[in-house]
Symmetry: C2
Subunit: 459 residues, 2 copies
């Protein structure tokens, strides 16, 4: 696929001027995400400013058979931005305008390069907020492309629920709006959902209409330790089964707590913990907390340590969000290798407990952290990617973990996506499904120019 | 397209025996749904019992170029089951097994012919329920195929959120499972959501994994009258904007109330009403009701009339659900012509008020009823389909209504689907989107055998 793209680059330069970068440092920056996957440099990086410019870029790439690799903020976990077949990285960071906000309709329209923190900062005084929070300050486009979620998903859903409509550019440059702004629609095939989670392999997401939520009257967060993982997990399962609408319910095992303590200068006891948050009216928040407290004390949970004001709460969640960085910081020059299985709730305890035993067997210390209300958890390894022996051990562990999840009806990825690392597992998880994905990919991107080599392999 | 299907029918007879029906009465029954759309008989009706039988049926139809028309319970509103190009109706009513229920995981697997009431009856003692409730006792397969919703959608979402996974049969007989059972997944393209809402034009839905919800500790329903439509609507909008998680918030205008009173022997005052339901703990239900009561009294709402026990509640919602039948019953031999626009909340009041004026201009009396928490409302006409003059007036009204909705960013259909009636409006709503839908349809059903002539026109 590594053709000579001289003509394409000249046309792109004419279109974009300074906003086409070919310097090694910029290309290097776009060669990888936050994961351990081998970096792979694009030939150049484009910085479009508008949807129509993205469309023109696609026209040029299409004509010259140059792969197109959308780039958000490069915080993903599966090597999705890496230019494994060369091509043009399309960095969306200059498309960072918030186009409209309607507090009345509880929605907004943003360009793909807007980040989640930028958006929440902007709408802060409007009585609404955008809940989806992968730890990193990712771009909304990247989050839509990976079907991201995070700690709030148990209450507010994932990007699948958050996105009302998209404006995308296809491989041939066609601009497509996928849906109206209505909160509910039965108008034709659900193109919005088809493109959410397509990881840059079907289209470049340019604009996103997002559903916002009312800022709750009261928010309170708490931390609670347990003497065993099983107790913590059982508390979660019962909370969900009772239908308590917790806004966040996150599990950290003792290893994770140790990493957090070191990285974020906290001093939690070295035990499994739940990090919780409740949203609602004052009275309803108190009642939810009471219910969960009762469940947790039935499972020998410790006292709830409350974080009442905004700063304390932010510090608590920042510590949680930084877990991947905290794990990485435990080793010099390490890269993050995060697993991401998600299983039915009834199998969560077994799956995590078997995984703990498995981790011990590897000889590596790897924290477990999870959006456990959804059955989703991560084992976060800090690896030295140049150490083949080590990678082999972690790969084998990852393989066993995924098979464990698949064998109980789970998925190989709850929120990070397939990228380059999990293509064979997707095949195993949905063998007939992958055939259909290939047909759809082939029909929308016949020359396989959109992020080739990711999600599915086209022969 | 009306080919001679003698050979196909012989092969189908060999496969299905008595479960292939060619009698005029059975064919007639499968020629229409509950709407005014012109009936169109299929050549025959198949009653498969298993997914593999559906697959064999598709093989036969594919070989002989015989259109396939999935049939659930025939309660839909857009003429989706009508055999406008002839072919084989595939009635899913014998595929009515509930294959598994996990109260722990709050999910279940059902065959497509299971109806929503059958399912809720079956799981009644398990502490879980399935919330989606189009008025009719529709099949789960039909509901998935139309992306149905109903009164509970404001709290629990639509079939888009309710379906975790599907097993479908494609035009060529291939059996495809679309997703794992995990509550959250980022594993490849979202085939589940692509097929939910495809109205039988991409596949035959055979099995559905559904998300269930915990039965709330307390449920209470109330009815409240308002002196004006605007007051009722403003109460709804403020309730939603405050983030009160009402389980149901339904608007009925005075004409609708009159129809309900006649059909269901109630005696509500002839004023606009909200029908409400609250779910939660005892205390939280009381608090939610208090908040909404306060909002409604700011808008001159009347007293809340409570329905506390299950029978009273069921009677209340049955009356609401029967509205379409109530409207129809006002004229002998009438058929239902229901509109279905959905608009952003901030435009809802204007849109409904303009529509009221428009209705008056038509000279027909048509009730308005709405799932207004989502911005979705229906004007329900009872028409004599043989009266061309009358149909012309209602069609023109419908046309103006849809344009009114589209002009404020709404959709031509919130929950009924496109069927045969709204193809041109879909084109207007999502012009570039329809091109993509055609490409996808062409790639999965190249011979246009799956419910041809519905949703999109293939040249
Ligand atoms: C500390 C840390 C914690 C994290 N925690 C979570 C978590 O809790 N939940 C979670 O879901 N994720 C988490 N992540 C992963 C990551 O933040 C998410 O995957 C995020 O959605 C990636 O967004 P991005 O803008 O960085 O995308 P990138 O990394 O730039 O790109 C990711 C993929 O999306 C494609 N893409 C990017 N932008 C577009 C676009 N506009 N159009 C089409 N395709 C595009 C790329 O081609 C690539 O395939 C975490 C990451 C870190 C570093
Ligand atoms: C009184 C009344 C009130 C209603 N209220 C609502 C409401 O509030 N909300 C709402 O959403 N709808 C409502 N409806 C419409 C209707 O109930 C829904 O559209 C329902 O989802 C139709 O289901 P069904 O099984 O009857 O489908 P059918 O009418 O049999 O079929 C509908 C469409 O789906 C396709 N289909 C059916 N089964 C399958 C399958 N297994 N695989 C693939 N395609 C299939 C058909 O080909 C057709 O195109 C109402 C209808 C009535 C009569």
């Amino acid at each position: 696929m590594m053709a000579n793209f001289t003509v394409a680059l000249k046309e792109l330069k004419d279109l974009l001027g300074d906003r086409l970068e070919t310097s090694p440092s910029v290309r290097q920056h776009h060669a990888h995400d936050e994961s351990f996957h081998q970096p792979a440099m694009p030939e150049a990086v484009a910085f479009p400013k508008s949807t129509s410019e993205v469309s023109e870029i696609a026209h040029i790439c299409m004509r010259h058979h140059m792969p197109m690799l959308p780039f958000g903020t490069g915080t993903a976990m599966e090597g999705g931005v890496n230019a494994i077949h060369g091509g043009l990285s399309i960095d969306m960071s200059l498309m960072n305008k918030i186009l409209s906000v309607s507090a009345e309709d509880m929605d907004c329209v943003v360009q793909a390069g807007v980040t989640r923190k930028q958006l929440n900062e902007y709408i802060r005084d409007r009585g609404v907020f955008f809940p989806i929070d992968p730890g990193a300050d990712a771009s909304i486009g990247g989050m839509a492309a990976t079907r991201a979620s995070g700690t709030n998903a148990v209450r507010y859903g994932t990007m699948r629920e958050a996105v009302l409509s998209l404006t995308v550019v296809l491989a041939d440059g066609k601009i497509v709006k996928t849906s109206s702004r209505a909160r509910k629609s039965a108008a034709g095939y659900d193109l919005t959902r088809l493109f959410v989670g397509s990881e840059g392999t079907l289209c470049i997401i340019c604009e996103i209409t997002l559903r916002l939520h009312a800022v709750p009257e009261a928010i309170s967060a708490a931390v609670c330790s347990f003497s065993s993982l099983k107790d913590a997990i059982d508390t979660v399962i019962e909370t969900i089964q009772m239908g308590v609408p917790v806004a966040r319910i996150e599990l950290l095992d003792a290893v994770a707590i140790e990493a957090v303590n070191q990285f974020s200068h906290t001093d939690y006891p070295l035990l499994p913990h739940l990090f919780l948050e409740f949203h609602g009216t004052q009275q309803w928040v108190a009642e939810q907390a009471e219910i969960v407290k009762e469940l947790s004390s039935e499972h020998q949970g410790g006292d709830f340590q409350w974080a009442f004001n905004t700063e304390e709460r932010n510090a608590l969640w920042q510590a949680r969000h930084d877990l991947a960085y905290a794990a990485r910081a435990r080793r010099p020059n390490a890269r993050i290798y995060s697993t991401d299985v998600c299983v039915p709730l009834s199998r969560l305890a077994d799956c995590i407990l078997e995984t703990v035993v498995d981790i011990t067997g590897t000889g590596f210390s790897m924290p477990i952290v999870g959006h456990v209300g959804d059955g989703n958890f991560h084992v976060v390894a800090a690896v030295d990617p140049s150490n083949a022996e080590e990678l082999k051990v972690i790969d084998a562990f990852h393989d066993r973990l995924i098979r464990r999840a698949l064998s109980v009806g789970g998925t190989c990825t709850g929120e990070h996506g397939i990228g380059q690392g999990k293509k064979s597992y997707l095949q195993e998880e949905l063998p007939a499904g992958v055939d259909i994905m290939k047909i759809i990919k082939g029909s929308l991107d016949p020359d396989n120019l959109m992020n080739p080599g990711k999600v599915i392999d086209i022969e």
